[in-house]
């Protein structure tokens, strides 16, 4: 059955990316360290005012996720380029969407693992005391991550063919991420401030719309950006 076979290919790419990452470790350590460092620097910049720290917590957290995520996306394709493995990957008899889906899922897991470190650090450093429900907060984090990783994976594939990919990726990605970052930061801020979910509702709806549109569009467009 072709779909079942394609899904096995997606799982193979996830397994390969995560195994490679687990073996090298350098990538995850660097990305997690950068995320924590950004939070620390923001904490120092804002000073000891607890109210100011709490107000800035959501923005600082999403900036930390943004910068560390960009490192992860570049690395995801660097794994293929290091051993000239991108060409063989493209020459397997598989639809291109399977490569995007595998990379997207592996990057999402990677970013969620980084978040598992930076979120507790942010809660401690920025003295967050009340969160209007851990489940909605986790949901916002997941929705924001899906949109962020979807676009990041797409643009990283586009930049992977360029020598200046480390510079090119942020230039391409950051402007496109404004809606998802804004919605994620505002929704997170409302939840961290202890506001009920309805205050964050509009931003969550925007996040869902963004995720659906951009992830689906990336699936279809990937065929053209990675095509030989």
């Amino acid at each position: 059955m072709p779909l079942a076979q394609d899904l096995r290919r997606v799982r193979a790419i996830i397994w390969k990316d995560l195994t490679t990452e687990r073996r090298s470790k350098a990538g995850f350590n660097a990305v997690a360290f950068l995320g924590v460092l950004i939070l620390l620097l923001f904490g120092f910049a804002l000073g000891p005012d607890a109210e100011a720290l709490r107000n800035a917590a959501a923005g600082a957290l999403w900036l930390a996720i943004l910068f560390s995520g960009v490192l992860a996306f570049n690395r995801s394709y660097q794994l293929e380029l290091d051993g000239a493995a991108l060409e063989p990957l493209l020459l397997y008899p598989a639809p291109r969407w399977t490569i995007f889906a595998g990379k997207f899922a592996a990057n999402l897991l990677f970013v969620l693992l980084v978040e598992a470190i930076v979120v507790p650090v942010a809660i401690i450093l920025f003295q967050v005391k009340s969160v209007a429900g851990w489940l909605p907060a986790g949901g916002v984090l997941l929705l924001g991550s899906i949109g962020f990783v979807g676009l990041g994976t797409f643009y990283a594939s586009m930049a992977s063919r360029s020598r200046a990919r480390e510079v090119l990726l942020p230039l391409l990605l950051f402007p496109m991420l404004v809606p998802v970052l804004l919605a994620s930061a505002e929704a997170s801020s409302a939840l961290l401030a202890g506001n009920p979910m309805q205050d964050a509702g509009a931003w969550v709806k925007l996040l869902i719309a963004f995720d659906v549109i951009f992830v689906v569009a990336s699936f279809f467009a990937f065929d053209h950006v990675i095509e030989v």
Binding site: T20, A84, A85, P88, P93
Partner: protein, 206 residues
Amino acid sequence: MEVERGEVVGIVGHNGSGKSTLLRVIATALRPSAGEGWVFGNHLLRDAIEVRRHVGFLAHAPGLYEDLTATENLIFAARMLGISEDGIAPVLDRVGLGHARNERVRGFSAGMQRRLALARLMMANPGLLLMDEPYNNFDPQGIELVNEVIQDSRRAGGSALVVLHDRRQGEGVLDRVVELGRGAVIGTSAGSSKPLTLVSAGGMPH
């Protein structure tokens, strides 16, 4: 230019003559700037996925994941190809990497990496082998192994296009040799095991 089933064709020419480009176009790794081609009746652009099912490409670079072991590299290839993983151990033994099956590719020599890439090609068992200077980085046993892979493929009815920088490398294996110059066929000659069959300047017909 046409290659028949079971035929092994050598491709020679000066640097920049288009030998590797030709292989990469047929492997669907490059889009042709002009002309058309078919592999077992499948158009190179319109039926690219079907072409990839029939073609195995041994490129200059081995295209392996250095932080995976030899076995894991082949497991990944098997899953992407949609074939059984049962053949991995025998094929690793055949290319002489059975002792290093659980070692990471990062520690492999260039020759060992080349053998692993060859193992991946053998596992895929394609109908058309595309080999770009396959004898590079191989010791005499490795060269013999490459020849065996080509002969095995031929016996199974497969074809092969083998890029060489020295036509003597393919002695005893090639049915004929095609010489390229500036991206076009400029000459053909018989190989050492079978007389010249056919070469034309037109595109590959169905």
